[in-house]
Amino acid sequence: MAGMAHGDDASAVAFVRRYQRRVFGLAISMIGDAGAAEDVAQEALIRAWRHAPVFDARRGSVTSWVLTITRNLAIDALRMRRAVPTDPDDFVGLGLVSGERSPEERAVSADAFPQVRSALAAVPVEQRRALVLAAVYGRTAAEIAESEAIPLGTAKTRIRAGMAKLRTALAPADGAPATGGGGDER
């Protein structure tokens, strides 16, 4: 990240090549359309690069920051296109079966992935759907209630119960920093 603040070409190239597969992977997983996913991925990488000087490493990892930018742009793209997002089960399923990651990518997410995978496997499917719709697609409880055809209270219960299970599964054992979003470069 040091080179990001300097804005030199070589650093830009290194930054893009480090994150482009993660960014495009999230965009295509959420949107499902390669053209729209490319638009989102390009815009996300450009925004991340241009805002790098104000990135605060104390607030989280670079990967999470870049992916959050990507997620927000993908949500906007889905809303603008009035498109139906990828089914939450498919999104989770894709993540669970992915084995096509390079060593670099495995290093980036080495701590998070197996833990999240096993934690999600233990969450009931209806809670998992609600979690993914909220965390990935930015749906409110009311929107989830509508799309899942369930009462608002039920949607909230599913979100909260699912989140509690996930948080407990990813929690540090004795006050040590959690690994759910950490373990990568800052």
Partner: protein
């Protein structure tokens, strides 16, 4: 407020705050609680990490052809400033480049620096590579990495790439032979960001090379590799 029922009751709200699903009024109520609670901010951080982890589940995917070109154009990054893409450049491409370049080197009898589209394969470089070629990944003692190829022929030659060494400087390539002798085979420049590609004919038989090192002027070993056949 630590451990009080109000904190326990706030757990669900915190989960939704971490996920960003609260309405404005609900959000305001939770933020008011957080401002006066010594315990819940830490809980919110853990919940936020869990929410982030969900987003990270998406598997990486290769962007469409031309993605980089279009992106670098929008970023105003000159294509020539973009070094070879290590993650998708198989060893055979590196080898092909090396084979093309070695002809130039042999013609001029000295080290050479990579440039595209020149040369033909050298003597002994066509067809029978098996058993003559040793390769290894350069492992950085810092962030640097790269690759080394050593080809045993008459003369033997080597080619190496360096990436992400973090500085623009002249570097020295040193080899260690199987007998333990250190041989300084030449110098080359790393461009801005620490990228470079370089090759030379060797003063020792290629099959006697055990390891290679890239050394900065101050003696720092930027990267090293142990050759395998």
């Amino acid at each position: 407020m630590t451990g009080t029922p109000s904190c326990e009751e706030m757990r669900g709200e915190l989960a939704e705050l971490a996920l960003g699903t609260l309405t404005g009024r609900e959000r305001a109520a939770v933020l008011a609680h957080l401002a006066n609670c010594p315990r819940c901010p830490a809980e919110l951080e853990q919940l936020s990490l869990a929410a982030d982890a969900l987003v990270r589940l998406a598997p990486p995917a290769e962007p469409p052809v031309g993605f980089e070109v279009r992106l670098f154009d929008r970023l105003g990054v000159a294509p020539l400033a973009a070094p070879a893409r290590r993650s998708v450049a198989p060893a055979r491409l590196l080898l092909a480049a090396a084979a093309a370049l070695v002809a130039v080197a042999l013609a001029f009898g000295a080290g050479w620096v990579a440039s595209p589209g020149v040369g033909t394969p050298p003597r002994g470089a066509g067809g029978d590579f098996a058993g003559r070629l040793a390769s290894a990944r350069l492992v950085g003692h810092g962030p640097a990495d790269g690759e080394v190829l050593v080809y045993s022929a008459d003369p033997s030659w080597m080619f190496m790439t360096v990436a992400d060494a973090g500085r623009s400087t002249e570097v020295t390539c040193e080899l260690t032979t199987r007998s333990g002798r250190t041989v300084r085979v030449g110098t080359f420049w790393l461009s801005r960001g620490g990228y470079g590609a370089w090759g030379t004919a060797l003063p020792v038989p290629g099959d006697q090379v055990r390891s290679a090192r890239v050394v900065a002027p101050d003696g720092t070993v930027l990267a090293s590799a142990v050759l395998r056949s």
